[in-house]
Amino acid sequence: MSTVLESLNAGLHGAMEANESVYILGEDVLDPYGGAFKVTRGLSTAYPDRVITTPVSEAGFVGVATGLALSGLRPVVEIMFGDFVTLITDQVINGLSKYGWMYGGALEIPLVIRTPMGGRRGYGPTHSQTLEKLFLGVPGLRVLAPSAFTDPGGLLRAAIDDPGPVLFVENKLQYQRRLDDPAFSALESRLQVQEGYATAATVGVAGAPRPQLTIAAYGDMAERAAEAQLKMAYELEIFSELVVLEQLDPLGPSGDLPRALADSLRQTGCLLTVEEGTHTHGWGAEVVARAVETSAQKLGIARVAAFDSPVPASRVLEASVLPDVDVIVGAAQKLVAALDG
């Protein structure tokens, strides 16, 4: 019955209990508040000396956490809204992602930066974005996103054990998703290693015919893609395989697609990528490029993403910009029709 939020929170509790080197830093993380989205709830009560509430200084406290990590501690930093990752770019790109490598390769930087991205809550243009694509392709940085189809808290704990730095991308609406959502009881999923400790889940409608389409997605959009998958199967007789990736970057070893995705594509020859960030230069573009580069067959391809627009506050306007279940269904329908035609 647990939610993504509860799983992440349990993951943090478990990590702090298991290892005294784990510290939490972030704005408003102390109880009773427990963080803006409550992911850190209860931690400061259980471990008062290891939860540090910070001034509103994102670049500064990410730098401080880097210093802690260089000194052998394992800080987990919370950036209150994903939009504010813009403030930490220098620390991430010119600092913590490079220190291990540029100083000869022997240093460890065990640091996790967690942050919730995403819209659909009417928070407006500066509190609703999905900005992780700005940090894809940064050498030395691992970018992860938990999923209700895998184990959010387990992934977070593995990230905390990682000797290198991790950007851990959560999503505001995803927090309330259930890990065993009855809405998804008709789906079955197979898990396999994506890369390192990250998992790929291949999700399909139980007992459905051979899939015609592969959908690649992560985070909250993977759950929306699963809703689309069910709708397509029952209402349109379009059968698909959804490959949920926990690791956005590196996608797979040396230019490859993750195995789960390559296997699915070999069967379907048709790829739809789904993400909540803006369309141009998105995560899907890299997935598509790799698919084309590594596939022997000619592929049908389409991408679903947000319009290249700021995210408006108004409910109607926001919904018009961000991709939802119907947009995924529409794109899949068009793609499959084009291939059939």
């Binding site: 500064g60 406290f61 401080v64 260089l70 000194s71 220098d90 600092g95 490598w101």
Partner: protein
């Protein structure tokens, strides 16, 4: 060796190293850029005299002097600037990005200040009395992240000595065009005490540093040491926009090696000079003969 002789030797090693860099750069043996410490040697030598085994040092783009005074290997630094396999970072970092033991440098101005603050905080959280010394220039003080770091250092009592080497110029920009208020005032605004000294005398700097470091170590609180100093050489190489007369005036009044020289007898000075010249030329020759790094494929 007496303290006076050791300090003389330490400053001379930096001076000759940096002169060799500037001298040989045009021949193409070095790859990339450099920022020499000529004129500021007394700062690194006077301050790093007082650090201990577990202490950490974070430096900036002008890091060669800090590194050598820390005890870093001269041949390894030459090799790093040549991009050789034997460079302290295997040729990955170059002049501005070096690391050895607990010494680090980063060429992005201001960027290291919160990191150094976190290293200091880690010591306090672990309960040891190790400290961190971090160097910055007057120009770097335009970077906002420094003030975020100072705020946290004061709030969390991070045992860090913030050293500002105020040569009153940033690349070509004189301090008057870039800094409002005063440098000590900026620290004091966060409740971080600042000791200011205008000197190129290694003994005076050492004395000030010993006081400041004792405060940091024994008091477990951040402190600043602001040193008015002088950059004699170009910002990098051959890019000085100052007049020749202005530079000559600096040499005439504030050369740390000249100021300190009177404390040694001339014979000893000559001996040390010969010894250092030999060390530098051997280190240079050794680095020059060192192999290029193996090309990394898919370095992660």
């Amino acid at each position: 060796m007496s303290d006076a002789a050791a300090r003389y030797r330490a400053m001379l090693r930096i001076r000759r190293f940096e002169e060799t860099i500037l001298d040989k750069f045009p021949t193409g043996v070095f790859h990339g850029t450099t920022h020499t410490y000529i004129g500021q040697e007394a700062n690194a030598v006077g301050i790093l005299d007082h650090i201990r085994e577990g202490d950490s040092v974070f430096s900036n783009h002008r890091c060669h002097g800090h590194f050598l005074a820390y005890g870093g290997d001269m041949r390894g630094l030459f090799a790093e600037l040549m991009g050789k396999a034997t460079g302290i970072c295997g040729g990955r970092g170059g002049s501005q990005h070096i690391h050895w033991r607990r010494f680090y440098s980063n060429g992005v101005l201001g960027s290291a200040i919160p990191v150094a603050t976190g290293m200091g905080l880690a010591g306090r959280l672990r309960g040891d009395d190790d400290i961190v010394v971090v160097f910055m220039g007057d120009g770097a003080m335009g970077e906002g992240v420094i003030y975020e770091a100072l705020n946290m250092a004061a709030l969390w009592r991070a045992p860090v000595l913030y050293v500002v080497e105020n040569n009153r110029i940033a690349q070509t920009t004189p301090i008057a065009l870039a800094m409002a208020g005063t440098i000590p005032g900026r620290f004091e605004g966060f409740g971080v005490p600042a000791l200011a000294i205008a000197s190129s005398d290694v003994d005076e700097i050492s004395l000030a540093a010993s006081k400041a470091i004792a405060e940091v170590r024994d008091g477990g609180t951040p402190q600043a040491l602001v040193i008015d100093t002088n950059r004699f050489a170009p910002h990098s190489k051959g890019d000085d926009t100052r007049s020749q007369e202005a530079i000559e005036a600096l040499w005439a009044t504030s050369c740390p090696i000249e100021i300190h020289a009177s404390r040694l007898d001339p014979n000893q000075r000559e001996e040390l000079a010969a010894e250092v010249a030999e060390e530098v030329s051997q280190a240079f020759a050794a680095a020059l003969a060192d192999p290029e790094p193996d090309v990394e494929v898919g370095a992660a």
